[in-house]
């Protein structure tokens, strides 16, 4: 955290020249991947210099409004309480929707329900299907710090979804049987899931798709009541897809009309993103390499996003 803040402070000192485009990176893979794609296009088609700054959501979001960071390629709008207000007041400009067919909710490894004979894992919770079914399985998901209850690995505190998940646990009466744990950080949450999966242990945790975790491990989303807008905030139904937008600082939008036009057309899907993340995980690839692979594989996107001359520039560079 400190390092990120320090990185921000150092870079904010030297971002006065506006040619360099600064992408915000909040730490998860899909955002890093989309950054890499947009950075590659900025460099090859528009001859712009790019840079990526990492930090937590609140830190980078503040920097985005101030202009030390220019844009987010993947804004989890529902997880940032101030977002809609800031867009309305014009402190941020929403350029477009990157994709809005993602999923989030409570996951368990598939072997918990179905077993995995190849690893010698018995199905410990064979009838677990809905979130409320968790009631019957508190002994499967025992909390190591409190043997009388089960443990649900919750969302990261401060994300909007965290409040909703807490309400959901209460609504289904799970709080009686489970401790809802704040994992403290994104990395700790994914480490818990990965650790449990590698060991073949049961775990129930909040997570979201697309991510490399959901790509690499066979996780099962627990079902919930169908989505209804009025019930969602109270945690009484499944989570809707979050609109993942491309948004930018107003000054940056004013200064870079051509590049912004590309950004406003930038649109992918959950499926495309998870393919790219899988490519990264399987090949141990860098994000930049994955971006090149992606643009070759889904060549038609270039025509959708870019004027023909710019698209040719990118293609020419990809051939090199």
């Amino acid at each position: 955290m400190l390092i990120c803040v320090a990185a921000l402070l150092i870079s904010s000192g030297c971002t006065q020249q506006s040619e360099k485009i600064i992408f915000g990176d909040v730490g998860w893979d899909s955002m890093k991947f989309h950054n890499a794609v947009a950075m590659y296009i900025a460099e090859t088609a528009y001859d712009l210099e790019t840079e990526e700054i990492s930090g937590s959501t609140p830190v980078t979001y503040g920097a985005l409004k101030k202009g030390d960071i220019h844009l987010y390629m993947e804004t989890w709008t529902d997880n940032i309480p101030a977002y809609s207000g800031d867009v309305q007041s014009g402190e941020l400009i929403e350029l477009g929707v990157n994709y809005d067919d993602n999923i989030q909710g409570l996951y368990v490894p598939r072997y918990v329900v179905e077993g995995d004979p190849s690893r010698g894992i018995e199905p410990l919770a064979p009838d677990l299907k809905m979130v409320e079914d968790l009631k019957n399985y508190k002994d499967v998901f025992t909390d190591p710090e409190d043997a009388s209850k089960g443990r649900i690995y919750g969302s990261i505190s401060g994300w909007e979804i965290d409040e909703i998940m807490r309400k959901k646990v209460e609504y289904y009466g799970l709080d009686e049987f489970y401790n809802y744990i704040d994992p403290g950080s994104d990395a700790a949450l994914s480490a818990s899931i990965a650790g449990a999966y590698e060991k073949g242990e049961p775990i129930v945790a909040y997570y979201w798709e697309p991510t490399w975790i959901t790509g690499k491990y066979d996780l099962l989303l627990l079902e919930d009541a169908p989505y209804e807008e009025s019930l969602y905030r109270q945690g009484k139904c499944e989570c809707p897809s979050v609109r993942l937008t491309v948004c930018a600082n107003p000054q940056f939008v004013k200064d870079n009309p051509e590049f912004v036009e590309f950004l406003s057309k930038y649109s992918t899907s959950s499926e495309l993103t998870s393919k790219a993340l899988m490519y990264i995980n399987e090949n141990n690839a860098e994000y930049a390499d994955a971006a090149k692979w992606f643009l070759v594989e889904y060549d038609n996107l270039l025509d959708e996003w870019l004027p023909s001359d710019k698209a040719e520039l990118v293609r020419g560079e990809l051939l090199k």
Partner: protein
Amino acid sequence: MHKLLTVFPEDIYIDIKAPIDKFINFMLQNWSPFFEAVSKSLQLFLNAIGSAVNAIPWWLLIIAVFFASYKVSKKISTSILYSALLFFIGVIGLFDMMYATLAIIIASVIISLLIGLPSGIVMSASKKISIFAVPVLDTMQTMPSFVYLIPAVMLLGLGNVPAVIATTIYALPPVIRLTSHGIRQVDVEVVEAAKAFGSTKMQILFKVQIPQALPTIMAGVNQTIMMAISMVVTCSMIGATGLGSEVIKGINRLESGRGFAAGIAIVIVAIILDRLTQGVFKKNE
């Protein structure tokens, strides 16, 4: 040719990342019963400390701090100040959080001392061991904690157990270093004199060297406690409860007030623990 002078040659690249990943995966898949046992016993230890700390009512803790600080400072004003500071933590609604944090700190410090004091004595006795030990201690203190925190979470689970381990790794070096340093600094002539009177090695160690080195050893203990406190927030990033998690929540929700309130409480805990332990070793001088 000139490329070699400006760019580091890529041909001699060695991949150390993959073997480390493999090793961690290997541990996950094969040694998990061992780590589970470690985790369980640490959990029991932590629970014991936790219930011992929680058994102290708030007013008793404040009174105890009052008398302890009077004993070390001999000034009634200092005692009033420290107990008032502690009372203030309660006033801002963080007394329970402080107990959770104290439990983690105390557990880590006890483990650090149990490992650190004997290791320091061994290190003082042998130059060879200390040649190997010094770089290890340096690594423990400088390796960014998140690097080993994440594998620790994978192996031991999330929460207070990996927090205690991470805190111990970071807080252990000063007590080892200063114990060894203190014993070595004892006047050679004093040791010679003890030898001349026919003392055994053990007698020299426990009746001459350690008492003589006590102020330095206590400085090490004090340092270890301070280091443990400095890990409180980092540990909350892997789910440790207490004041640190309040700081993280404050940051995540952009609630600066919440962050500062918990931050101030951490400072107060640090000051009180520091002054009390410093007072003890100054008295020993």
